[in-house]
């Protein structure tokens, strides 16, 4: 079996394992290590690692878990993600976590933080209020204070308060992680047939629940292996998939889009792993550096306020240009406020710029892909016939 296949099979195994065996094994091999879960979209993983803890991304159960208890917590008009997160917890699959962080992604995740406080009173739970004000002296200082509080609190949980050197080492490590993710995205955009999104996604999903060092090894090896036995080049339309930053689409949907005739050349999948778009400084005050990086150099996403009045209007055209894409697929989870409220602004900007768009909704447990195949296939055909952006 080729290296590429070995790596992807490993990633698939990690992705499908809803008992988080890889994370549990890491903990059992390192008795002093504790695990911190975090929900989408962004949590400062550097702080977690510097506190001698393992960051574990909690993205629900996808289409692999039957919801038995989770539905009792939510009305039909709430998205699917929190149901499966509760299902994972209530079935003891998250019992290895010592703390859980709930970033300010939306009101559902916000309220889930309080539900966790009630349901698991012995666990450390923190709501992470990400800064929306982009003035370093106001929003930056706020986020810096939040990070310092988090450092103190995680230190109490782990028994190891992160020192500045710990933080610098973690920043260095995550600069490497972000670099390799950027390289993967760059490589996919350049030659998408060599790096299908199905594989890239599996690798990145695995990276959310294993130690960052292990992910780095696998990702570097994969980058080297993509020329070994890549699938043949195919003439397909190049698309960006927008709106998939929180509740993740099932793997089958990602496969369907590409098999229907589209190459995904940019996306919002797991965007928290590359939220900081530049390397964080390792010299000087590491907490201030992390705060500054977020304020000045974070991805534009629906979960953060857009200070530029033209920002929403122009964002899609910028992304399409950067990715040399032909069109945009707006794929939002049902009942997802951030993605669905943003969509009219983003879509009208894209259409004004002459970019072909389609839109659909999914849930993490969507099991039928025929309609998506038809939509994506027709979209690709129309781009071929009448041209893209």
């Amino acid at each position: 079996m080729s290296n590429r296949k070995i790596i992807i099979e490993w990633a698939l195994g990690v992705y499908e394992d809803l008992h988080f065996t890889a994370a549990r094994e890491t903990l059992s091999q390192n008795p002093n290590l504790k695990a911190v879960g975090f929900l989408p979209v962004y949590a400062p993983r550097e702080v977690i690692v510097a506190s001698s803890m393992l960051p574990v991304g909690i993205y629900g159960g996808g289409d692999q878990i039957e919801i038995i208890r989770g539905d009792a917590y939510y009305q039909s008009y709430i998205c699917h993600l929190p149901r499966s997160v509760i299902e994972l917890a209530q079935s003891d699959r998250l019992d290895f976590l010592s703390a859980v962080l709930f970033p300010s992604t939306c009101d559902v995740i916000r309220n889930l933080s309080g539900m966790w406080q009630v349901m698991y009173p012995d666990l450390y739970v923190r709501y992470l209020d990400l800064p929306h004000v982009r003035d370093p002296e106001v929003g930056g200082k706020f986020w810096e204070r939040e990070l310092r509080t988090l450092i103190d609190k995680l230190g109490e949980v782990s028994g190891h308060r992160a020192s500045d050197d710990d933080l610098r080492a973690a920043i260095h490590l995550y600069n490497e992680v972000r670099w390799v993710i950027r390289e993967l995205y760059r490589a996919r955009s350049a030659e998408p047939w060599r790096l299908p999104t199905e594989e890239l996604y599996l690798l990145l999903r695995a990276g959310e629940v294993v130690a960052p060092e292990l992910f780095l090894d696998k990702a570097r090896a994969y980058l080297e292996a993509i020329h070994e036995d890549s699938p043949p080049m195919k003439d397909r339309s190049r698309v960006i998939v927008v709106g998939t930053f929180c509740e993740q689409p099932p793997l089958g949907l990602i496969k369907t889009i590409e098999r229907a005739g589209c190459w995904i050349v940019d996306d919002d999948l797991l965007i928290g792993n590359r939220m900081l778009t530049r390397d964080v400084q390792t010299q000087g005050d590491p907490v201030a550096n992390l705060a500054e990086a977020f304020i000045l150099h974070s991805e534009k996403t629906s979960v953060l306020y857009e200070p530029d009045p033209d920002g929403k209007k122009t964002l899609m055209a910028q992304r399409v240009r950067a990715a040399k894409a032909d069109g945009i697929i707006f794929a939002a989870p049902s009942f997802c406020d951030p993605a669905l409220l943003d969509r009219p602004m983003l879509r009208s900007g894209a259409e004004e710029a002459g970019i072909p768009c389609i839109a659909f909704k999914y849930a993490e447990n969507t099991g039928q892909f025929q309609q998506f195949r038809e939509q994506a296939g027709t979209f690709s055909d129309s781009i071929k016939l009448w041209g893209g952006s």
Partner: protein, 430 residues
């Protein structure tokens, strides 16, 4: 919050007339604003900084109020359809779609007057994610500045000192300069203090009104009537002389009802005989408001406390605007609004209401539109039941989308619930 529908109530107290006139005059001023030059500031109810806006002689305008009024006046259905035709998802907040639809249909406000364009969009980001998108959407329609005021969530059950500082920093660095620019006036701290003092005065009277529901019979309905009572203080009139007068008058009327042993005024008259004392969580449905209220009043059920009437401030928990610390007190106010409280605090509040107001039960009205309220309410139901031993009822509707109001369903659930309370009483008595 209902602010101008005093017409819909059978009996008119002086406070109702006052409120109606205040609202009418406010919307007339808003209509004249392009000519009079009074700056108009769009902002939200939770975390509204009315005293600061007024201190610059500017006029606040609150899109949620317009949306709920459109719902009460039967216009929201068409507005929502208009927004959905323009690409807004059926899954998202109907307040937003109603507002966008109203804008696209000529921007005629609740009193039939044309609403002015904003000079400033003051996005007080308090307790609701959707607010952020709402003003990003409105910003595309108006050529005016936007100030984003981030109010940190009370994730650990309190407004932490660094969160308070963050709010004050933003007011100083962003909001005050923006207000100075649109009004052409310098920030006047003494004037702000004056408005804050007036706010505290009205808040005292409002709390006395809310606490009056501890009496038997309760002289007020704290939910259906409550939304009228909080109207002025949650919208444009906190910190104004008119607001003070309104609440002074309201308190007098309520105290007179207590003395006379009377219940609240409902769509069908005075509810003096009260068989059920209930606490309600969640916003009301506005499109069938009277019908919804009647389902309770016909069963002789009175609401003695509600959480929705705290979205614009938790005065009954002790908060008062403090003129001696003008910016700090505004930060405290914003941080303490109901939807900015974490789930354990919200559960505590319901538990305390049930005990303090000697309630027989509690009802959660879960609205499809509002994840800030609705996500987690099923767990709240179980927790409150567990801690109080009082069973709860769970009903579902929407804010302003009439498609999601199923009268028969809600009535059935409510009646069954009240029968359950009766059965418990009989068991306890025997």
């Amino acid at each position: 919050m209902a602010t101008d529908s005093a017409d819909s109530v059978v009996q008119k107290d002086r406070s109702m007339v006052l409120q109606k006139n205040m609202i009418a005059e406010h919307f007339k001023r808003l209509e004249r604003a392009p000519e009079s030059g009074e700056p108009v500031v769009y902002t939200f109810v939770p975390g509204n900084l009315t005293e600061l806006i007024r201190s610059f002689d500017a006029l606040p305008l609150l899109p949620e109020i317009n949306a709920l009024q459109s719902g009460m006046r039967g216009k929201s259905k068409d507005y929502i359809a208009e927004a959905e035709r323009a690409g807004h998802s059926e899954d998202v907040c109907t307040y937003v779609k109603c507002d966008i639809g109203m804008l696209k249909s000529g921007n005629i406000g609740p009193t039939g007057t044309k609403l002015p364009k904003p000079d400033l969009l003051l996005l007080s980001y308090t307790g609701c994610y959707t607010f952020m998108k709402w003003f990003e959407l409105l910003r595309e329609e108006y050529d005016c500045p936007t100030v984003f005021l981030q109010i940190p969530y009370q994730g650990d059950g309190e407004l932490e000192p660094e969160h308070r500082k963050y709010i004050v920093d933003q007011i100083e660095a962003d909001l005050i300069p923006a207000m100075e620019k649109i009004s052409g006036k310098k920030y006047d701290e003494d004037k702000l203090k004056h408005h804050l003092g007036l706010a505290a005065e009205a808040e005292d009277d409002l709390v006395a009104v809310l606490h009056s529901a501890k009496n038997r019979p309760s002289p007020i309905d704290s939910y259906f009537g409550g939304v009228y009572y909080v109207g002025p203080i949650f919208s444009a009139f906190r910190g104004t002389e008119e607001g003070v007068e309104y609440y002074r008058e309201l308190r007098k009327e309520v105290e007179a009802r207590v003395a006379a042993g009377l219940g609240p005024v409902t769509p069908d008259g005075s509810l003096d005989e009260q068989d059920y004392r209930l606490v309600v969580e969640g916003p009301p449905n506005w499109t069938s408001f009277r019908e919804f209220w009647r389902m309770f009043s016909e069963e002789k059920a009175v609401v003695v406390a509600s959480t929705y009437t705290k979205v614009g401030g938790t005065y009954d928990l002790g908060f008062r605007h403090d003129p001696s610390d003008p910016l700090g007190t505004m930060a405290d106010y914003c941080g303490g609004c109901y939807t900015n409280l974490n789930m354990p605090s919200r559960i505590d509040m319901l538990v305390n209401y049930i005990k303090d107001y000697s309630a027989d039960g509690f009802v959660i009205n879960s609205v499809k539109s509002c994840n800030s309220f609705s996500a987690g309410q099923l767990m709240m139901l179980r927790e409150v039941e567990k801690r109080t031993g009082v069973p709860g009822a769970f009903i579902e509707s929407d804010l302003v989308d009439p498609r999601y109001f199923s009268a028969a369903n809600i009535k059935n659930r409510l009646e069954s619930y009240l029968q359950m309370i009766d059965a418990r009483r009989q068991r306890t008595a025997s």
